[in-house]
Amino acid sequence: MSADTVAIGSEGPALEWPEARRAELDQALARYPNRRSAVLPVLWIAQREWGWIPPAAMQLVARTVELPEPEVFGIATFYTMFNLRPVGRHHLQVCRTLSCSLMGADRLFRHLERKLGIGHGETTPDGRFTLRRVECLAACGGAPCMQVGFDYHENLDEAKVDALLEKLP
């Protein structure tokens, strides 16, 4: 704490990067002429490490790329793919935008809601699935589509989704 500002109640223990992430971090930082530019890559690394981005991780990222903590918070919340809450093992992201909805994304999403008993942004009690509506995934030709984590699944219908969920651990 310094003599001339009001200290913030820093909550929770400070996080550190696990040694295993060092190489990744150095690679990310090496790609740009300044550290600030690495803020997205480094946030991605944090999300890979912890599954979501808790405030303590944002503070760690801020230290890593030498940005003020509030700014990192503003950046992390600007983009939709950084999880501000923990998510399930499988992140089901169903496209809702026009092409997919023309091809039945609505039915598909309602089906998943019923099947998993959760709504948009919610996670099943067993922590297996998180369900989300997302905007156009650039797979309109394979509408309706969804992304599970980073994996694309296209031309879906209720039966295909059921089969898919079976296969997922």
Partner: protein, 437 residues
């Protein structure tokens, strides 16, 4: 052969590997040009070819390259816009997934032309698997000496890096892309200065779309006249169109510019699924006004589309069938822009929210006579008043829909339901989740 140019060999197995790519003549243009032909010459050829940007704005590519100041002491940057987030568009994804080296070669040539030694490929966050494909290709190209300290063994250094976004349509807008790449919130910046003069890190920067850059190697290899054998005077070459909606064979099609929209849908895509007829087509991604069925003969090129009151945009062709309610469809699109507005400027931030509120009212069956004019006036108050073109993109489709399908809006008000309703597009609830307190 799926297409005359970029798609001529797109389905060749293993094309993503450098060997296969080189068997097909890959990197020949790079070897022939870099360190051999003066940069100015490359720019002149591209100018002569009449290549126009495929990202949406259709700006002449050679002209843009020419804006980069020759005398500037600052480093220059090349940025590939691989954000592909315009609804209805999925061409760049297939191109990069199947033929990453063509993109790299295009970037090598563009970098040589503008004398940039660093290039970035800005990928939308969802394209993580494509980042892996590109990183692999970059490693191959480096190993083969097409990237690194001495491209093609000549004294020209070039490094290309991939950069993964994290979920923001606005980061497709070039200045927002640059903000995002620099590590700021992805919001647009004032123009002028234009990126060609002050772009990435305030240095001269050229931002080009994936498809645009992929057209460069064939052009420099075969010359401008060869390229001009396709397309029209003002829109030379081919265009890849992503067709979606209830057609028999949706997907990406490379066709000569100027091909009638109807030919694309009826012949290439095999028409609509059983028992449906076309009500309207959005020809250039969700940001452009739709064309009613009556105008399907319009040619797929920049000038004809403008003449028909819409835009070729990114070439995302969304087919809307006769059993879909236009009001539903527009509500769906408007929600998209509300969700993607970066929030920097008032008209777009507040206007998109307001419009979706009015749409919701119409859908609830509580619409009023005045709502239709209200919608067009709100759109008009956004159009040309917003900071960047996202605002316009949200306004134009609504204006177009009301112009061509006013009766469907009036029906909503009068009958308190859709004129037709096979399948409401739906999923129009807001998706925003608050930052945990």
């Amino acid at each position: 052969m799926r297409g005359p140019l970029l798609f001529s060999d797109i389905d060749t197995p293993g094309l993503a590997s450098i060997e296969t790519y080189r068997k097909g003549g890959g990197y020949e243009a790079a070897s022939a040009m870099v360190g051999v032909k003066p940069p100015g010459e490359c720019i002149d050829v591209v100018k002569a070819s009449g290549l126009r940007g495929r990202g949406g704005a259709g700006f002449p590519t050679g002209l843009k390259w020419g804006f980069v100041p020759k005398d500037s002491p600052k480093p220059r940057y090349l940025v590939c816009n691989a954000d592909e987030s315009e609804p209805g568009t999925f061409k760049d994804r297939e191109l990069m997934e199947k033929n990453p080296h063509l993109l790299l070669e295009g970037m090598i040539l563009a970098a040589w032309a503008i004398q940039a030694h660093v290039g970035y490929i800005y990928l939308r966050g969802e394209f993580e698997y494509i980042q892996q494909i590109l990183d692999r290709a970059i490693a191959e190209a480096r190993a083969a000496g097409f990237l690194g300290p001495a491209v093609a063994g000549r004294g020209f250094a070039l490094e290309i890096h991939t950069h993964l976004g994290a979920g923001a349509y606005i980061c497709g807008e070039e200045t927002a892309l640059l903000s995002s790449l620099e590590g700021y919130r992805g919001q647009p910046r004032l123009k002028p200065p234009f990126p060609a003069v002050e772009g990435l890190y305030a240095c001269p920067t050229v931002v080009n779309n994936v498809e645009t850059l992929m057209n460069v190697p064939p052009i420099l290899k075969n010359g401008a006249p060869w390229f001009r054998q396709w397309g029209t005077e003002k829109s030379p070459g081919t265009k890849i169109l992503s067709v979606s909606g209830p057609v028999r064979k949706p997907g990406n099609y490379e066709v000569p510019m100027g091909l009638p929209l109807s030919t694309l849908i009826e012949e290439h895509c095999g028409g609509l699924l059983g028992g449906m007829a076309i009500k309207a087509v959005i020809p250039g991604g969700s940001s452009v006004p739709l064309l009613p069925a009556s105008k399907l003969s319009t040619g797929l090129d920049f000038e004809s589309m403008v003449a028909a009151g819409t835009l070729l945009g990114s070439g995302g062709v969304i087919v809307i069938d006769d059993q879909t309610c236009i009001v539903d469809a527009l509500w769906n699109i408007t929600r998209f822009y509300e969700h993607e507005s970066c929030g920097k400027c008032t008209p777009c931030r507040e206007g998109t929210y307001w419009m979706s509120e009015v749409f919701e009212r119409l859908e609830r069956g509580e619409g009023r006579e005045s709502d239709i004019d209200l919608l067009s006036d709100v759109s008009d108050n956004i159009l040309g008043k917003s900071f960047c073109a996202l605002g316009d993109a949200a306004a134009m489709p609504v204006l177009g829909a009301i112009q061509h399908f006013r009766d469907e809006f009036e029906f909503h008000v009068r009958e308190r339901r859709c004129l037709v309703n096979r399948r409401a597009p739906g999923l129009t609830e807001r998706q925003a989740e608050a930052v945990p307190a």
